[in-house]
């Protein structure tokens, strides 16, 4: 096998495997794959949970009339990236969402770029789950488009933030209610030197953690936009009563009722990492029970992404599952 030649999927012209664009027609040579969870229509599959009947119209059982129960969990694997979103125990519905996309170029084991976003719908707003799905999907799409054009993670995350903000604002169907959500995103690109560049950006309190293999120290990459974080930044103790009370009060979010660019440029941060590790994005339904990077790292070391994501979700459920739980585990630097 020479391994040097390939053809453009658009025009069949011969291209080099290292090319990002076809010299002949200009088409991108990366294959784009993407996913958003929870996926709609999952509830229609299978028999009615209430009466066992198989048929339904719209979302209602044709026999007992019950609206089909949404599944508690949706899990997806996109080229080794594992996404889980779970309703939890206390909440009636899941208002979180997660999206991921990859650009597969010449080396299918090592994508040309990765874009991931986690959104947590704010329960006090109507249609929060719609905002979460719309924002995470739009954010990942915009990041992928930016990565196709140029492999610049920082620019991609900013483009994603703008697209997600517009999508969340547009998710309002009733002018009286403004659905809103958090948004935490990461763009990952390999550098020519064999390292990996990770850029994160966030609005709200969903988090991103970098969990390298030992002995390197795990770290939280994002800073929450919450009242608690503002108090800590101002000098309050993390376990003080004021901080505990303000833990979940958001100071920034996406939605129609917020400023058009509710993020600071300083929230977009880039690190360059060497070697193996896991990048984890999650909603507060997980980190409430595992706030420290070291806690989450314990679940990710020495196991694959799928087992890690499942173990983290189960831990949050066992601990009480007071909120929707969303976890995305992205293996970095390995062959997954």
């Amino acid at each position: 096998m020479t391994g040097q030649e390939a053809t453009c999927s658009q025009c069949d012209a011969a291209v080099r495997r290292t090319d990002r664009f076809c010299e002949s027609c200009g088409a991108s040579l990366s294959e784009v794959r993407r996913i958003t969870i929870p996926r709609p229509g999952q509830s229609a599959a299978g028999p009615c949970a209430d009466c066992g009947n198989d048929a339904d119209f719209d979302e209602y059982c044709t026999v007992c009339g019950h609206r089909r129960v949404e599944p508690d969990r949706d899990k997806a694997d996109l080229g080794g990236i594992v996404l889980i979103t779970d309703r939890g125990i206390e909440h009636a519905r899941n208002e979180d969402a997660a999206a991921a996309g990859i650009l597969v170029g010449s080396n299918s084991q090592r994508p040309d770029g990765i874009a991931v976003a986690v959104c947590d719908g704010v329960s006090s707003s109507d249609g929060a789950h719609m905002a979460a799905v719309a924002a995470s999907t739009a954010g990942v799409d915009a990041m992928l488009a930016a990565l196709v054009a140029s492999r610049k993670a920082h620019a991609a995350v900013l483009a994603g933030l703008r697209a997600a903000a517009n999508a969340a604002a547009a998710a309002a169907t009733d002018p009286a209610s403004a659905p809103s959500c958090t948004y935490t995103a990461a763009a990952v690109v390999p550098t020519p030197a064999g390292k990996t560049q990770i850029t994160v950006g966030n609005v709200g309190d969903s988090r991103a953690y970098w969990l390298p293999e030992a002995p390197a120290a795990p770290q939280q990459l994002t800073v929450d936009d919450s009242l608690a974080q503002e108090l800590i930044t101002a000098g309050a103790a993390a376990d003080s009563e004021a901080v505990q009370r303000g833990a979940h009060t958001l100071t920034r979010w996406l939605g129609a009722d917020t400023e058009t660019e509710p993020w600071s440029e300083s929230s977009v941060q880039t690190i360059t990492v060497v070697g193996l590790g896991s990048l984890v994005l999650c909603s507060d339904g997980l980190w409430n029970y595992l706030p420290d990077a070291a806690d989450i790292a314990r679940f990710c070391r020495g196991t694959d992404a799928s087992a890690a994501a499942r173990a983290l979700t189960e831990y949050a459920l066992d601990a009480g599952g007071q909120d929707n739980i969303t976890v995305v585990v992205i293996p970095i630097g390995g062959t997954s």
Partner: protein, 426 residues
């Protein structure tokens, strides 16, 4: 089917929230047909039944007016309409065409029909069941046609038993629609209402024979504007549910509950009759098995069907909540139409008690009716009620009038089912 059946809209207005353990769901279903009558020309069949009993000539002006009214109705026939004119006594006889068939409306046939009507002489009794049977024999079994009759009488159904009439009404259901008119004050509102209700038509009094011609012409114009022969309301309900009632509530109150035909697959069908460009409101009440708080259930799926074709659909949802502020709300339109149905019933029960000499019941019922009519803005019924009762403007109490014109009382009775509308909630 034809393009006329496009443009049916179905709107559901209700409060979907139910308290824990409660299962009664009320909804107002508004059906609107936006059809151009001229664009499609279904087969039209018309029968005009004119009472030729001896009493019609007392006074003779009454019969002359009836003949003029029949002529006026014939004039309104759209060319090509199949029609017949029937003379009714203790038996029924075809006046035009005389062969017990149908003529096709044209300038010539209309003129011939009017000449035949002009030659009629009243002589005989009254047996409306035989009239219906005769018309059914001529116009029945024409699937897909708009088949309509006008029935005029001036007296009681004397020459057959109520059972015989009831049987003929039952046999005619679904074969043709029938608008009934009583001229003068010697006929029975209940008798004609039994026919018009079963045959999905209207009933009214024409106290002054001079007004008959305009009334007949207008009835025929309305009939000619219809373009959908038969609409059906199909109601799906979940297992364990019970349909308490299905009522048309606007423009008039007509209880359709007992008209249900089981259609399988948890569906029941109710006939809605023929339609032109118009809208009607229906009140449905369904009892479903309560679900847990937080759950949502489909309490009913309402489809409007012509033949096998579903033209419009609406969903009646039920959501159980612990929030009593949500579950305690009653849809404004459900409340309004509940009042309108009670109003029609109070009028009919009040008049019936008055006839029976039960002044106490009559006063109580008609006072309640007056309150409901005024509250709901049903000015038509309120005005008719004032012909039968006096209202003390200060206290609002009601007293039966000593001298009531028979025509006023019959008009109130015949028109008691007309309802006031209320705007859709936005």
């Amino acid at each position: 089917m034809s393009s006329a059946e496009q443009g049916i809209s179905v709107d559901i207005d209700h409060n979907p929230y139910l308290a824990e353990g409660s299962g009664t769901v009320d909804a107002i279903v508004s059906i609107a047909a936006d059809v151009a009558a001229k664009t499609s020309a279904p087969e039209r069949v018309e029968a005009i039944i004119i009472d030729c009993s001896t009493s019609m000539q007392a006074p003779i002006e009454k019969f002359d007016a009836a003949k003029r009214a029949t002529a006026a109705a014939i004039m309104e026939l759209v060319d090509g309409t199949h029609f017949t004119v029937v003379c009714g006594t203790e038996k029924a006889v075809s006046v035009y065409p005389v062969d017990d068939g149908l003529a096709r409306a044209s300038t010539e046939t209309k003129a011939a029909a009017m000449r035949a009507v002009d030659g009629l002489r009243p002589h005989g009794g009254t047996a409306m069941g035989t009239w219906l049977a005769h018309v059914r024999g001529i116009v029945g079994h024409r699937k897909g046609a708009l088949t309509h009759a006008i029935l005029l009488t001036d007296g009681k159904d004397e020459h057959e038993t109520p059972e015989e009439l009831g049987e003929e009404i039952g046999l005619s259901e679904g074969e043709f629609t029938c608008d009934c008119r009583g001229v003068g004050t010697d006929w029975e509102v209940d008798e004609l209402r039994a026919i018009s209700t079963a045959l999905l038509g209207t009933v009214d009094i024409v106290a002054d024979p001079e007004e008959l011609a305009e009334d007949f012409a207008s009835m025929m114009r309305v009939s000619m504007s219809k373009s959908i022969p038969d609409l059906t309301l199909r109601l799906w309900t979940p297992v364990g549910a019970h349909v308490e009632f299905v009522k048309q509530v606007a423009p008039t109150v007509e209880d359709l509950t007992h008209r249900r035909l089981d259609a399988g697959n948890q569906c029941g069908e109710y006939p809605l009759g023929s339609w032109g460009a118009e809208d009607r409101d229906y009140h449905i009440q369904v009892d479903v098995e309560p679900a847990a708080v937080g759950r949502e259930k489909l309490a009913a799926r309402v489809s409007v069907v012509a033949g096998d074709q579903v033209l419009g659909e609406g969903l009646v949802k039920a959501v159980w909540t612990a929030d009593t502020a949500l579950s305690a709300q009653i849809s404004r339109r459900v409340a309004h139409y509940t009042g309108q149905a009670e109003l029609a019933q109070a009028v009919q029960e009040g008049l019936s008690a008055r006839k029976a000499g039960d002044t106490t019941t009559a006063t109580a019922k008609l006072q309640r009716a007056m309150e409901l009519a005024v509250e709901s803005g049903n000015d038509g019924t309120a005005k008719l009620l004032r012909g039968v009762v006096e209202v003390d403007e200060r206290t609002g109490t009601v007293r039966l009038r000593r001298d009531v014109a028979a025509a006023d009382e019959m008009a109130l009775d015949a028109r008691s089912t007309r309802t006031a509308r209320v705007r859709k909630e936005t």
